[in-house]
């Protein structure tokens, strides 16, 4: 009996010891040129990830941040930004921005204390802005030391995407919003707002420095009402809308992008559509058909003009990314993480 008790005690003690697993670090084959792809993962699963695609070799590496640092990025990897070979990874529902070396993917630091960060815009080497879905301000931080240096109140509105023309930053107020907010980057202050079609989300700047705005029009059944979705062109000097292109009933466009020469916009509306910036009307037919696939996001290579479109498949498995030439010819397709939402070319 005594031996039995001793045996049980020994088993108990051995099992109680906390064995830290041996940490293994993988070398990440990230080329100088290529595409970082932010994969959102699933909301509240904490399974967002980062992929890298080398277009020259047609090679993709997935989960590169986890592989290098043995830790996940977090919940909903929303967007990416690159500054001085530092990769800023916006992890929306983890309330943080993770910073990694853009070549080795080694973890360099983290900006914490946010709530629902969406995008980053760099003003200069010491100043950058963060938009937030659940805050009535933009956050200012210093990319050198990752310290939050200030806030820009936006008067009860929230911020989504940001583009800059000259000293002015144009910010879309997407969630239940109707304005394009104008921030003077010299004084870090909201100076104007431009009323645009309901729920402006995506922004792009063309070769003439005009700001293009994609508004999704809101939701059916919402008390705020539902408008037809629209694409608008805004003059950043006069802060006025020059043209509104209304989409058809039932359209839910997303992913407005501009091509490498700045003369053509692309967007998703189940299929891929393209339109010359000087067109007077929306295209009548799509440029690339989805053929039953769930096109989730779109990007255009700023150098080559190639089009990248992600297919979420069923939203809970590795997604597909299609790479098309600017003619619409398929060049390659490859698998990445779950729900790829943002492409960063370098």
């Amino acid at each position: 009996m005594r031996n039995l008790i001793m045996f049980i005690l020994i088993v108990f003690i051995i099992n109680s010891c906390n064995n830290e697993p041996v940490e293994t670090v993988y070398a990440i084959p990230v080329a100088d040129k290529g595409v970082f792809i932010a994969c959102e993962g699933n909301f509240l699963y904490g399974n967002g990830s980062l992929s890298f695609y080398n277009p020259e070799k047609k090679q993709v590496v997935n989960n590169i941040f986890y592989a290098r640092n043995n830790s996940p990025l977090g919940d909903v990897v929303q967007s990416l930004a690159l500054h001085q070979n530092q990769l800023f990874i916006v992890v929306n529902n983890s309330g943080k921005i993770v910073v990694a070396d853009a070549s080795s993917l080694e973890f360099k630091g983290v900006i914490t204390g946010l709530t629902s960060p969406r995008y980053i815009h760099f003003i200069d080497d010491t100043k950058a802005y963060i938009s937030d879905l659940y805050a009535n301000h933009l956050t200012i931080f210093n990319p050198q030391n990752l310290e939050v240096t200030g806030l820009i109140p936006i008067k009860g509105q929230t911020a989504e995407q940001m583009v800059q023309v000259g000293r002015y930053l144009f910010v879309s107020h997407w969630s239940y919003g109707q304005n394009l907010l104008v921030i003077d980057t010299a004084i870090d202050s909201l100076v104007a707002k431009i009323k645009v079609p309901f729920q402006p989300r995506d922004l792009a700047v063309d070769k003439n420095d005009k700001v293009w705005v994609l508004s999704d029009g809101g939701l059916e059944g919402s008390v705020t009402g539902k408008e037809l979705a629209a694409i608008s062109r805004v003059d950043p000097e006069t802060f006025t809308i020059e043209q509104i292109y209304r989409l058809e009933e039932g359209a839910l466009p997303s992913s407005l992008k501009i091509n490498n020469s700045g003369d053509t916009i692309y967007f998703l509306n189940r299929d891929v559509f393209k339109m010359a910036i000087n067109s007077r009307k929306l295209p009548e037919s799509s440029f690339i058909k989805s053929k039953g696939n769930l096109f989730y996001s779109l990007a255009v290579d700023p150098l080559l003009g190639e089009i990248y479109v992600s297919d979420a498949v069923d939203y809970t498995q590795s997604a597909l990314v299609y790479r098309f030439a600017d003619t619409g010819t398929l060049i390659d397709s490859f698998k990445v993480g779950i729900n790829p939402s943002f492409f960063l070319f370098r």
Binding site: S71, F295, T316
Partner: protein, 648 residues
């Protein structure tokens, strides 16, 4: 593992054949079973299991002592049950026959159902659930309250204190006589739930303490029963419960502190009338069930409230069952249900929401026959109507046969068709509800082999079941197919589920030592067979969060009012991606095995009994995750004291 179990089963059976043939000749297994239960696949946690979990909630009792998988977000957090690979909404929970599932969400949170508020708990698997209601494509859980007519006065008080600043108090008073009984049960439970864990979800990795996970539950269940000389029993039951839970963030969260909570308030009222006679018997109840749910999320530092939603559900449920038993060989039932539900959901931030009601009716006819002590079967047919939609006739049938009079083995089989109506959220939620969703349509069948062996001081019961089910038009919420940023409900999957359930219970009484053991094991292969696109790798792959393997075993030793019990429960690998990706670094939840040990001493002094119990949960401090990136507690210690007074 399965082979081992089968071998054990066969070896045991073969040993038994020889012994029984020599010793007793004819054995009666099916003969002991009530005719109205013949052919049904029932799991009933035994009394020691239920009593040992008296201070816990139903998710722990079901999760540990049945083949049903319980998906839990952690201590005190939402927990739902999945039978045979089906969804949480395919598990129906009935309290004294009254359905408790949310008409809005379809599911029920088992963590809100205290074991202390029940007198009997049993499970009906697959098609067997059709005898009590429809919609349980996986199975149903039944909670019963039973009056104790032999007691004049019974007082019971339990107090538990445990790790992570946890306290539980339970009181029960039964009073009355042979014609009137009153039972009052009260519970109060709270926990800071601030357990330490190793946070591998952030960099640098560190030891952390779970925050904003505290919870509080309080409830009262009052029952009155009146028995008259005409074998009629009337009962009124009132159940009020209030639960407040703060909701913790995922391990990777490093944002500004969030204030996030959920408050659930439920009130249930039931009038129940039963009339027994040699001829027709009647059971009628009418009930009212209301629940309020409040969900709030804010970032106080930013002075920003991003979620503040309220919902109210009211249900009026009515049931009449007329049944008759002929010579314990024939049992006929006819039942009618008429239920009315109203729902109001409001998003106070955005001003959106919906308000809807639904009237549902159901009729059922059921015949059980036991032509001999070795053969029984049942047939059942049910018809349903909701919002003008008539669900086609849904049949169910079962058979039970003791194929050899000298062998204590029974073969049981049943097959059924079943439907599950879309929930009101599926149809009307703004945004994403689709009013023309089809009901989920299922076929299910199972075959069981049950043995009940008595060998001197040993009793060994064992049951092995194989099942298969197909559920078409499976409703799933996923990002809108139109490319919008909101989620919507759709009939997207056809799920084929196949598997095995095994349960055993053994008792040995030797002088003053009583030894008990029980266990269960389930193998579940559930996959989507409706993956159309070529890029979709989910076809034939295991559904997410459904383990293929799950099991538990316990042993208990009783001696001189001492009771020592050891529980071991294991859950197999669970996938979190539909294509079962294992190449990623965070896609698979690893299998885990956790143990519980308890030691109890009871002292009896005439009408009073005292007991003191100490319990260690997660004995070996296993680090595991039940849900991706949600920490689970390590080893914890609990002390329970109980005082009972009973006057007959």
């Amino acid at each position: 593992m399965l082979t081992l179990l089968l071998l054990l089963y066969i070896t045991h059976t073969q040993a038994q054949i020889v012994t029984d043939t020599v010793r007793i000749g004819e054995v009666k297994v099916l003969a002991k079973r009530k005719v109205q239960e013949a052919g049904l696949k029932i799991t009933r946690p035994d009394s020691i299991q239920r009593v040992s979990m008296l201070t816990s909630d139903l998710s722990e009792l079901i999760g540990d002592y049945s083949p049903v998988f319980v998906k839990s977000y952690g201590r005190g957090s939402e927990a739902t049950a999945s039978f045979r690979g089906a969804a949480a909404s395919h598990t129906q929970v009935l309290w004294n026959g009254m359905n408790l599932n949310s008409s809005m969400r379809g599911i029920i949170d088992l963590s809100l159902l205290p074991v202390f508020f029940t007198d009997d708990v049993y499970l009906l698997h697959g098609g067997s659930s059709m005898t009590r209601g429809s919609g349980a494509l996986g199975g149903s859980i039944h909670l019963e309250n039973i009056p104790d007519w032999d007691t004049r006065l019974k007082l019971e008080a339990l107090g538990e204190t445990g790790s992570f600043h946890s306290r539980k108090s339970f009181f029960k008073v039964n009073a009355g006589g042979r014609s009137f009984q009153s039972s009052t049960r009260i519970l109060y439970e709270s926990s800071d739930n601030d357990f330490p864990y190793y946070n591998a979800g952030v960099l640098p990795k560190r030891s952390d303490t779970l925050s904003n996970a505290d919870y509080r539950k309080e409830g009262i269940l009052q029952e009155f029963y009146l028995r008259n000389s005409n074998n009629g029993i009337s009962g009124i039951r009132l159940w009020y419960q209030n639960t407040y839970r703060n909701l913790p963030q995922l391990m990777s969260y490093e944002g500004s502190r969030r204030e996030e909570y959920q408050s659930d308030r439920q009130f249930r009222l039931q009038y129940d009338w039963k009339k027994y006679s040699d001829g027709l018997n009647y059971h009628f109840f009418t009930g009212y069930s209301t629940s309020r749910l409040e969900y709030y999320r804010a970032t106080p530092a930013f002075d920003f409230v991003n979620e503040d939603s309220r919902s109210r559900e009211d249900g009026f449920l009515n049931h009449l069952r007329i049944f008759r038993t002929f010579d314990e060989k024939t049992y006929i039932t006819f039942s009618v249900d008429a239920n009315y539900f109203t729902v109001k959901a409001d998003d106070l931030i955005r001003g959106s929401g919906y308000s809807k009601n639904r009237f549902e009716t159901s009729i059922m006819a059921n015949l059980h026959l036991k032509p001999s002590d070795r053969l029984a079967f049942f047939i059942l047919i049910r018809s349903e109507n909701y919002e003008g939609n008539v669900v086609p006739l849904i049949p169910s049938a079962g058979l039970e046969w003791q194929f050899n009079r000298n062998l204590p083995l029974v073969i049981r089989s049943n097959a059924a068709r079943n439907y599950h109506k879309p929930t009101l959220n599926d149809l009307y939620w703004v945004p994403g509800g689709i009013p023309n969703l089809l009901p989920e349509n299922g076929f299910t069948g199972d075959v069981s082999l049950e043995g009940d062996f008595n060998l001197g001081v040993t009793n060994f019961k064992s049951e092995l079941t194989g099942y298969m089910s197909l559920i078409d038009n499976w409703i799933l919420w996923q990002p809108s197919v139109s490319g919008a940023y909101y989620w919507e409900a759709n009939n997207v999957k056809e799920v084929l589920s196949k598997g095995i359930e095994y349960q055993f219970a053994a008792t040995v009484h030797l002088n003053r030592i009583s030894f008990r053991s029980g266990g269960n094991f389930s193998f579940t292969a559930a996959s989507n067979v409706h993956a159309v696109k070529s890029a979709d790798e989910s076809r034939g792959k295991q559904l997410i969060y459904i383990p293929k393997h799950q099991g538990g075993i316990y042993i208990s030793l009783g001696w001189h009012k001492f009771l020592m019990k050891y529980d071991l429960n294991g859950v197999g690998k669970r996938y979190t991606t539909s294509n079962n990706s294992e190449t990623g670094f965070e896609h698979v939840l690893n299998p885990y095995v956790i143990s519980r040990i308890s030691l109890e001493k009871e002292i009896n002094l005439r009408n009073v009994s005292l007991s003191l119990k100490s319990r260690i949960e997660n004995l070996f401090n296993t680090d595991y995750q039940s849900i991706l990136w949600r920490p689970m507690p390590g080893r914890s210690y609990h002390l329970t004291t109980a005082v009972k007074f009973r006057k007959k």
